[in-house]
């Protein structure tokens, strides 16, 4: 008898099938209409969006919409091709120029998603004789980049420079000539904590390792011109490769990697997730380009972090067990068990607030989280409404005393 290929998913399906069907299922949310960066109609109910990573509220920016409309009319709905064949339009080249200007670097390559940027850069840069050394709490795209490549993969304890250095020393002792790529994130998306880039990068440089920083959740949010945590910490000179995404602060979809490495353009020839996929549609490229120009000169990040601090401190003062401090755009309440977390999420939805129910393995340390990502577009009234509902439901479910 042959084995059903789906048999291995039985335990996952069994867990999933315990969840209710319909609007009470946290993983089948569907937006009937979107009103603004912070509001949508879900299950016929007007709902505040408090978990969409739309940090700058760029999805409905008038200049971005105008640029996208113009590109759509002039260049059509899609490129239908790879960047190395028919899929490079003026807009793609212009966007890469904008990225070079935004970061003040020599080279920029645009990918079709942020996930593919990590996948492609990590899997391609680190070859079979090389090492990739990653933070234990890395995003799935980083783990998958490691799995796709042929390098030896080593993990170090989250945000621990001493632990990283020990692992690098061991690699160097055994393999003095090997290429080493250390991969960290500017901001870790679940708990909003920043990497100590200076200490991690200095440990890396001591052992002649290259440093890649994924600024997916920090571009637009940190640094004087929104480049991310490396700029905020004044350590951009220690970073060899910066990866980012257009799907959060930039308000659309797509990914990129920028670098000053003189041979960086070689990736266009050898990086399979860049070569073997269609390029971004012209309208997406145009809105990303406009959003980056706006982000560079905007002070939206000040408003964003004020919003986040208002929600975080309000929740902390109410007595919640917080996973976040308010120093990033994330607010996450730690919930003790899965059933309470699911019930909490359902109650918030019924009160018209969409947040993320974050569960392992997306979360570190097996945590269950009610995770919010704030937006500069949230009004104080919206934040106070979220706060009021979080507290009322917290009391109802005995999460609060």
């Amino acid at each position: 008898m042959t084995t059903d290929l789906f048999e291995k998913f039985d335990s996952t399906l069994n867990e999933y099938n315990k969840l209710p069907e319909g609007e009470l299922n946290p993983f089948t949310v569907s937006m009937d209409a979107v009103i603004s960066p912070t509001e949508a109609i879900i299950n016929g109910r007007k709902t505040i969006l408090a978990g969409t990573n739309n940090y700058m509220g760029m999805t409905y920016n008038e200049e971005c919409l105008k640029a996208a409309h113009e590109a759509l009319s002039s260049f059509g709905t899609g490129t239908t091709g790879s960047r190395v064949l028919n899929g490079t339009y003026n807009g793609h080249k212009k966007l890469e120029e904008t990225l070079k200007d935004f970061y003040g670097v020599d080279h920029a390559i645009v990918f079709s998603t942020g996930y593919q940027a990590n996948l492609g850069v990590i899997a391609t840069l680190a070859g079979s004789k090389d090492y990739v050394v990653i933070d234990a709490d890395s995003h799935a795209s980083i783990y998958d980049g490691c799995a796709m490549g042929n390098a030896t993969v080593v993990r170090f304890t989250h945000n621990d420079p001493e632990n990283l250095e020990r692992r690098l020393a061991r690699i160097r002792k055994k393999d003095p000539e090997a290429g080493i790529l250390v991969v960290i994130e500017g901001v870790y998306s679940m708990l909003g904590d920043q990497a100590p880039i200076k200490e991690l990068a200095e440990a890396s440089k001591k052992h002649d390792a290259f440093v890649l920083v994924d600024e997916a959740h920090s571009v637009g949010v940190f640094g004087q011109t929104g480049r991310g945590v490396a700029q905020e910490q004044g350590v951009e000179h220690l970073v060899d490769f910066t990866v980012g995404t257009f799907s959060k602060s930039v308000g659309t979809v797509g990914g990129y990697c920028v670098s000053n490495h003189p041979k960086f353009e070689a990736l266009r020839l050898v990086c399979r997730p860049y070569v073997f996929t269609a390029s971004l549609p012209p309208s997406v490229v145009a809105s990303a380009n406009k959003a980056l120009e706006l982000i560079k000169d905007s002070n939206l990040r000040v408003k964003l972090l004020e919003n986040s601090m208002r929600l975080n401190s309000g929740l902390a003062n109410a007595g919640f067990n917080m996973g976040t401090t308010g120093e990033s755009p994330i607010a996450a309440i730690i919930i003790n068990d899965k059933d309470t977390a699911v019930a909490y999420w359902q109650n918030m939805m019924q009160e018209g607030v969409y947040v993320n129910l974050a569960v392992p393995p997306a979360t570190p340390n097996g945590l269950y989280l009610m995770r919010c990502s704030l937006s500069a577009a949230h009004t104080l009234e919206q934040i106070d409404y979220m706060l009021e509902k979080f507290i009322a439901i917290g009391k109802k479910l005995n999460v609060l005393d």
């Binding site: 234990a136 030896t152 993969v153 080593v154 304890t157 692992r167 061991r170 097996g366």
Partner: protein, 82 residues
């Protein structure tokens, strides 16, 4: 001289203790997923403790081949012998 596989197994068993929440008796054929009920992240944390104890690099790449405590002891032995 590197320690024997038995000596390594004994040391690995001690390192696993904090992860063995149900106090399952540790034998070479004890599995991480089924017997110890460890998820993949716990296995990686356990491996980090083992790496630091023996001062070796255990690449994540070989993780799929390490299903039992005995296999981990043998892998450490191989790495130390290299």
């Amino acid at each position: 001289m590197t320690p024997s596989t038995t000596e390594i197994f004994d040391q690995v068993s001690e390192l696993i203790a904090p992860f063995n929440q149900k106090s399952v008796p540790i034998k070479p054929e004890t599995t991480f997923a089924t017997d110890l009920e460890l998820d993949s992240l716990s296995v990686m944390d356990m491996l980090a403790a083992i790496e630091d104890h023996f001062d070796v690099t255990v690449p994540l790449n070989i993780l799929p081949d390490l299903e039992t405590v005995g296999q981990v002891a043998e892998a450490i032995k191989d790495i130390l012998d290299e």
